[in-house]
């Protein structure tokens, strides 16, 4: 038997080659190169000078970086906790609901389909102080008209809630799939033993849902660390930097004067290490709880 270049021995390499070329050129090589760039300083993006770990030292001692990092932590924790709780609650309600479940599920999913840029634009208009949907509704029931995007604390709350709005339907679908994987017989046995709805939830549903919850927490964490687009069009990072998160910090250092490629790359490396660390921690803690 002849082994041509299209034979089963060579074919797999040819099949995987295009994908690996793209991954190599646009993900793996840039990742390595990004670390390399973080060791250089550039004169507004022109000449490069090797500075070793100076960029990292500058980041660690920069008040601006720590401010942005602190805001990012508040945002990530707030969004991940809210998303996980809300998606679980929504999935439990949807799972129990028979009539109109498909339509309700679709309704909650629609915001996930809207471009993050448009999400930012729509909410920017909806939260407009005088004329927006939200304050008009609040005033109609006799409540005040806060400047949602003008107060730093409120604006942080707004970007968390809008983030929740865009993704809760997507995560609820994942939780729904997890719920449907739970053996129905367990509930019947529990009912015979006299367990009420609340006890069934606490003793059967939530423990058996833990692997799904872990997936939701991990994905939501990665997404939250990467959030940029809708914040960029909703608040632009303001007011006075109150919603400037680390990704925007990296974006501005890379593309807005003064351009600091090395500093931006160092911040990128730090972000990657943090995301990797948090994901690994989530995974390990989640797995340990499962083992108990």
């Amino acid at each position: 038997m002849t082994r041509s270049w299209t034979g089963p021995r060579v074919a797999p390499y040819l099949f995987i080659l295009p994908n690996m070329l793209l991954f190599g050129a646009f993900t793996i090589w840039p990742a390595i190169n990004g670390f390399n760039i973080s060791l250089y300083d550039s004169d507004n993006g022109r000449t490069f000078r090797y500075v070793g770990t100076e960029n990292y030292a500058e980041i660690v001692s920069s008040a601006e970086f720590w401010r942005v990092a602190r805001l990012t932590v508040v945002f990530v924790i707030g969004l991940v906790v809210l998303t996980t709780v809300a998606a679980t609650a929504l999935a439990l309600l949807l799972n129990a609901q028979r009539r109109g479940r498909g339509a309700l599920r679709a309704a909650y999913f629609v915001p996930f389909l809207v471009s993050p840029v448009v999400v930012g634009l729509i909410w920017n208009l909806a939260l407009e102080r005088q004329n927006g949907l939200v304050n008009t509704a609040l005033q109609a029931v006799g409540l005040g008209a806060p400047g949602w995007l003008l107060d730093g604390g409120l604006a942080m709350g707004v970007i968390i809630v809008v983030g929740l709005w865009t993704q809760v339907g997507f995560y609820a679908l994942i939780v729904l799939a997890g719920l449907q994987g739970i053996d129905r017989g367990l509930y019947e046995a529990a009912r015979i033993d006299g367990a009420g709805t609340w006890q069934q939830l606490r003793l059967i549903t939530l423990p058996l849902l833990r692997p799904t919850t872990l997936v939701v927490v991990i994905l939501a964490t990665i997404h939250a660390f990467q959030a940029f687009d809708y914040i960029y069009t909703l608040t632009g990072g303001g007011p006075l930097g109150a919603t400037t998160l680390i990704v925007q910090f990296i974006y501005e250092s890379s593309f807005e004067s003064p351009i600091r490629y090395g500093l931006a790359s160092a911040a990128g490396v730090v972000l990657f290490v943090v995301v990797f660390g948090v994901t690994a921690l989530n995974y390990l803690v989640g797995r340990r709880q499962e083992a108990v």
Partner: protein
Amino acid sequence: MVLERAVPAPPTGAPPRRWTSIGEQPPAPAAVVRATVLVAGALFVLAPIVWAVLSSFKTATELAQRPPTLIPQNPTGANYVEALTAFDFGHYFLNSTLVTVLATLLTLAVNAMAAYALAKYNFRGRDTLFLVTLATIMIPLQVIFLPVYQVVTSLGLVNTLWGMIIPAAATPTGVFLLRQYMLSLPDDLIEAARIDGAGEFRIFLRIILPLCRPALAVVAIFSVIWRWNDFLWPLIIAQDESVYTLPVALARFSGQLVVPFHLVLAMSVLSIVPVVVLFLLLQRQIIAGIAQTGFK
């Protein structure tokens, strides 16, 4: 006497109500609360979108009016006409469509081939390549866009639609999802085709791809959602107005000193329509796809 006892006592007060649409039993209070919460929540979630759609049919003066109106007083499609003609949004719409369609086709081709190699062949380095593929999920674009930008520059793709299409084409989630699906296909099919003398690529094209249609559909839909809505990367690549995609154009226009809100609203609504229609048409496959993989 016995008979009398068997007949149930007539209800006192009002006769029992019948919820004919649900059945003989009146709904439990908990079910009513649940349905109310779900419907009210859905209305809250959809309210900003519905409001934006309604507002896109208002004139610029009505948009600025105080107190604001909910339903447009004189509904007009003028915003759409003006946005598409005077502001060249039709061109951005076309750019978005081109990028979305071409990138999705490329993603499907490249990911399906890689997934097939990983699922159905035993070759040196397979497990390493699979792990490398999975690990790239952990590397977000935001962290590496600067060096990616350098690569794209050196290839001469800055300021071109190809610069938006090619770099994002190889997606780890796509490879993973397709590989999982292909693992479930029987190896005998491939063996039989080989005995019949079919070449490896022919087997992939004629046997594997048609069988993978459901998984390909899910990858295609997610690719369309991502590419259509993608912002950060096109924002970096598109420096010239002629290659703006919709999200880039919308962000640029809303960043102006005097924002033409009536036009921005019309275009925002227009940008939502294709993906929502696609979702509603293919809802079943999308949900099954998410359920099958957990989108891990």
